[in-house]
Symmetry: C2
Subunit: 227 residues, 2 copies
């Protein structure tokens, strides 16, 4: 009985890692679709989001089942409850990658990103991928020390996001309002994606140490909140 229980906990952990893999792949391909104005790739990202939702559904069903059958306490209970929060973050990250892909599709055959912002958006995509890859390793290894460092990667995303906004509002914008709307939302999608990834990694600290940290809920940095 206890063995089956721990197999189930391991299965949940594996599913979380699988979700980070799917979310990373979605955002990586969405960024390429966006920059290359590749409508087929965009369509494939949009279609693949279902897969993340399915893993999430399985994970949550398993978690509720464990709560009902095994009635875990202490560390085990913490693991199950926290996993459900993490799956919610990861599912949302899939949605955000899909949103990026939808912008790519909407503007096809043009790219939604003006030439002078391509490098910034490319970097945002790379930072997003790096954060979620780290989140996956952190979950797999229950690596509290690495989890505590992940904010640094998020700082990088915030700096890129700020760069994007400054370019929008510095008076030099020549691409019209529609393009400004696209870039505003794209910036927000990448930033929120990174926030959720940080939240996923940070929850591992709670999982392992038992220190409940409400700040683990994904939220924006104060100086970007109004943007």
């Amino acid at each position: 009985m206890r063995e089956a229980f721990h197999q189930n906990l391991q299965l949940i952990s594996d599913q979380l890692v699988e979700m980070t893999r799917l979310a990373a792949s979605a955002m990586s391909r969405a960024t390429t679709a966006l920059l290359d104005a590749d409508v087929h790739l965009a369509e494939s990202v949009i279609a693949a989001d279902k897969q993340i939702d399915i893993v999430r559904e399985e994970l949550d069903a398993l978690a509720v089942d464990i709560l009902a059958r095994e009635q875990p306490v202490a560390t085990d209970l913490r693991m199950v409850v926290t996993s459900m929060r993490m799956s919610s973050d990861l599912e949302r990250m899939g949605d955000l990658a899909r949103h990026v892909a939808k912008v790519a599709r909407l503007r096809y055959p043009e790219s939604a990103v003006p030439p002078e912002l391509r490098a910034t958006v490319l970097q945002m995509g790379q930072v997003a991928e790096r954060i979620v890859a780290k989140a996956g390793s952190i979950i797999a290894a229950r690596d509290v020390e690495e989890a505590k460092l992940i904010e640094r990667d998020d700082d990088e995303m915030d700096a890129l996001h700020r760069e994007l906004f400054e370019h929008l509002v510095d008076g030099s914008w020549r691409h019209g309002t529609e393009s400004a709307v696209d870039v505003t939302l794209l910036g927000r999608y990448y930033e929120r994606y990174a926030d959720h990834a940080v939240s996923v990694a940070t929850r591992v600290v709670y999982l392992v140490t038992g220190e409940w940290d409400l700040d683990a809920d994904s939220d924006e940095p104060e100086d970007l909140i109004a943007r």
Copy 2:
């Protein structure tokens, strides 16, 4: 023992209703702050968000405590798990109201909303308030029938959101890119707020009927996703 247990479940339900009240008040005041360029009101909304976070923290701590001590199954387990999801939605709604208030503060002494969009934003605020008030009544009364109707209010929000965007991109925009960025984000904040409120209400269906509905996760309507 069972009586204490049911008192705790009732307490959780009361806390959820209290959160809807706080989230409604926050968005109502944020909208006024935005339209009246009232920086003091904006500050008070920003400060009051802590209160929603505190209720959420209490609720989640109580929920975890119930899981550990009472080891509920079936309907009771469903109630506890679903409540934690609802508190997460409501906490996020508080954040979104705070974001609106931050835009108001950022543009003070101007209003961030151009004159011709005031009526639309006012209506978005009113629809947001109405949806969350309904969500509160639906939780208190466990009113499945009303919960199933709440999508109609959300359709209204989506129509207003579309109106806002159409005005941004129809070629008549004369307020500059910075203002376009503000209005883009404001539109998204109201829309996401309503999505989360709908999600809260829809989860009551699961709570009462046991029909798990993954679509209850707040997500955007398909034709607005890319926006």
